[in-house]
């Protein structure tokens, strides 16, 4: 029996059982669609969780000066002055695993606007910092390279600072606030980030060019830390190694000397992220597996029923000279699952 005849018979059989054919198709369609939808939803939520976690900066690397002995006295890391601007520039220009680098110097003090004042921290940074810490400007704009070069007296205010310095709700952009005695022009307001996982208010910040903070506020020539973003969370380790070798060679450390800096990455965050996405994967695999199994059993039942109700027809076809293979082929046109039952019928 040739393929054309088989197809014709199969189509006729489907045509004779329109409703069942439709319901079976519906079942299969819904089953497959639900599996696909579920996978898509799963993938989506996995990505969204991932995005939320990396929002916290899972690929962030922080470089602090390391504590070092001077003579026999161990020094506090804060007093060390080993990170300099050229170190930052070297990291900016020479690394291949880092997408963004920003130096950081910070100073605490009182911000004053007219008769309102509020104690906050002033961070001296470059625009890269925004990408590293996933901060964005809600209103106004970020300072640029020219501002950094000229140590411009500009700043961006966090939401909390704005609320306290401008309680009347007036627009702070273009206004001048004072940090201790230094006047800073407000060029932008930061997007609110709320509190972080430690309960610290992330909106309680003021950002300014690092040169401004170093020269005009602190009058220092060293950096308190350098913030970097690895290209991706997985590349954090390579980035760390690269930073280490660059800084060691720049600081001319001997092979047996300890690092005079300290690199920290968000290991905990990345572990959490990994375990979350692993859990997600397992969960999805389980759900998809169960749906497929249930769907498969459903389809199998329909197949079994359609073969059982065909035993007479199969017997007749056998009697007029169909071979076992013809019957199997015919059913294969409907579905492969019918095979086992058919061969049983043929053999009995």
């Amino acid at each position: 029996m040739n393929i054309g005849n088989l197809l014709k018979i199969a189509l006729k059989a489907l045509n004779n059982n329109k409703l069942r054919c439709f319901l079976t198709m519906l079942g299969i369609i819904i089953g497959v669609a639900s599996v696909i939808t579920m996978l898509a939803i799963g993938q989506g939520s996995k990505n969204s969780i991932k995005a939320q976690i990396s929002e916290m900066g899972s690929n962030m690397i922080m470089i602090h000066p390391g504590n070092m002995q001077r003579g026999s006295v161990r020094q506090s890391a804060d007093d060390m002055q080993t990170l300099k601007i050229p170190d930052y520039e070297a990291l900016r220009d020479e690394t291949s695993y880092i997408s963004a680098v920003s130096p950081m110097v910070n100073s605490s003090g009182q911000f004053i606007n007219g008769n309102n004042n509020y104690p906050s921290s002033l961070y001296g940074i470059t625009p890269d910092y925004m990408e590293i810490r996933k901060v964005s400007v809600a209103d106004g704009e970020m300072f640029d390279e020219a501002d950094i070069k000229s140590a411009a007296k500009v700043c961006l205010l966090g939401k909390t600072v704005v609320d306290n310095l401008f309680p009347d709700g007036s627009n702070p952009i273009g206004r001048v606030v004072r940090f201790n005695k230094i006047p800073l022009t407000v060029v932008g307001v930061l997007e609110s980030k709320g509190t972080n996982s430690m309960g610290m208010d992330q909106d309680d910040v003021v950002l300014a060019p690092y040169t401004t903070v170093m020269k005009r506020v602190l009058a220092v020539d060293y950096l308190q830390s350098i913030f970097c973003s690895a290209l991706s969370e997985e590349m954090t380790d390579q980035a760390t190694d690269e930073i280490t070798s660059i800084l060691r060679s720049r600081h001319k450390l001997k092979d047996d000397a300890d690092d005079d800096f300290d690199i920290r990455s968000q290991q905990e965050l990345s572990e959490m992220m990994n375990s979350t996405s692993d859990m997600m994967t397992v969960l999805l695999a389980c759900i998809a597996g169960i749906s497929l199994l249930v769907g498969g059993i459903g389809i199998m039942n329909i197949m079994y029923v359609s073969v059982t109700e065909r035993t007479r027809e199969i017997g007749l076809r056998m009697s007029i000279g169909a071979r076992g293979i013809d019957i199997r082929n015919r059913d294969r046109q409907h579905t492969p699952a019918a095979q086992a039952a058919v061969s049983r019928t043929c053999d009995s």
Binding site: M1, N2, N5, I9, K12, N16, R312, E313, G315, L316, R317, M318, S319, I320, G321, A322, R323, G324, I325, D326
Partner: protein, 249 residues
């Protein structure tokens, strides 16, 4: 009877079934030959082994012992597929309950055996199916579906289906069993016409009245042939049919 011109030869046929631990002897030593052009009725009470014999004659089953030669080929040693081929080319089946495919037109039912014969193309298949339906007087019902026809008409379609492959024998299993007397005779008329045209027919039945219309009657009892009588002058089913009152008039 010319012994060399036989269609069917069975010799010392035995068929045993294992039922539980017991062996049931359905056929014990059955031997006969059927020549070309005979109309044989095989009769027997239920349990006499006639269904088993029919299954073996129809190549659906193989004997435990003994020889069965159908049109020159020995069936006993054949493979399953060869037997299927033999059924397709040499045997036409007519069943008690017609066994037409449901929701399928008469002509498609008749075409069915030819679908399994790759030597026949679609055009020839159609042509032969039309001829077979003409032969059973159903030319005007070709496109009727099997559930839109009466029992007698369905049985005619089934006979057309049995004829379409031009088989050497027609095996009928209680072919009139489901029909009323009048329709039964109309089917018998058809069989007698086929017989008159030289077809070999084996008609299995438990109805002793039918023996009179065949040319030979074999009676089975307990798996043995108890009588094998040639009927030199079969009664005419057409006369009987004509004599029966027609309810529709």
């Amino acid at each position: 009877m010319d012994n060399t011109d036989y269609i069917i030869k069975v010799e010392h046929l035995r068929r045993d079934f294992q039922v539980g631990g017991e062996t049931v002897h359905a056929l014990r030593d059955v031997s006969f030959t059927i020549s070309r052009g005979e109309f044989v009725t095989i009769m027997g009470t239920s349990g006499s082994g006639k269904s088993t014999l029919l299954n073996i004659l129809g190549c659906l089953d193989t004997p435990t012992k003994g020889e069965y030669v159908l049109d020159g080929s020995s069936v006993r040693t054949m493979s399953k597929n060869d037997r299927a081929r033999l059924r397709n080319r040499k045997i036409g089946f007519v069943f008690q309950n017609y066994n037409l495919l449901p929701k399928t037109t008469a002509i498609e039912n008749v075409e069915l055996p030819l679908l399994y014969n790759p030597a026949v193309n679609a055009k020839e298949r159609r042509q032969r199916a039309i001829e077979a339906l003409e032969a059973v007087g159903l030319k005007d019902r070709m496109e009727h579906k099997s559930n839109q026809m009466s029992g007698g008409q369905q049985q005619r379609v089934a006979i057309a289906r049995a004829l379409v492959n031009d088989p050497v024998i027609i095996l009928a299993d209680e072919a009139t069993g489901n029909l009323d007397t009048r329709t039964s005779y109309s089917i018998l008329v058809l069989f007698q016409d086929l017989y008159a045209k030289g077809r070999t027919i084996i008609f299995v039945t438990h109805n002793p009245d039918l023996a009179a219309y065949s040319s030979r009657n074999i009676v089975l009892r307990d798996g043995r042939v108890v009588s094998d009588v040639i009927n030199p002058s079969p009664a005419s089913a057409r006369e009987m049919y004509a004599s029966l009152p027609n309810d529709e008039d």
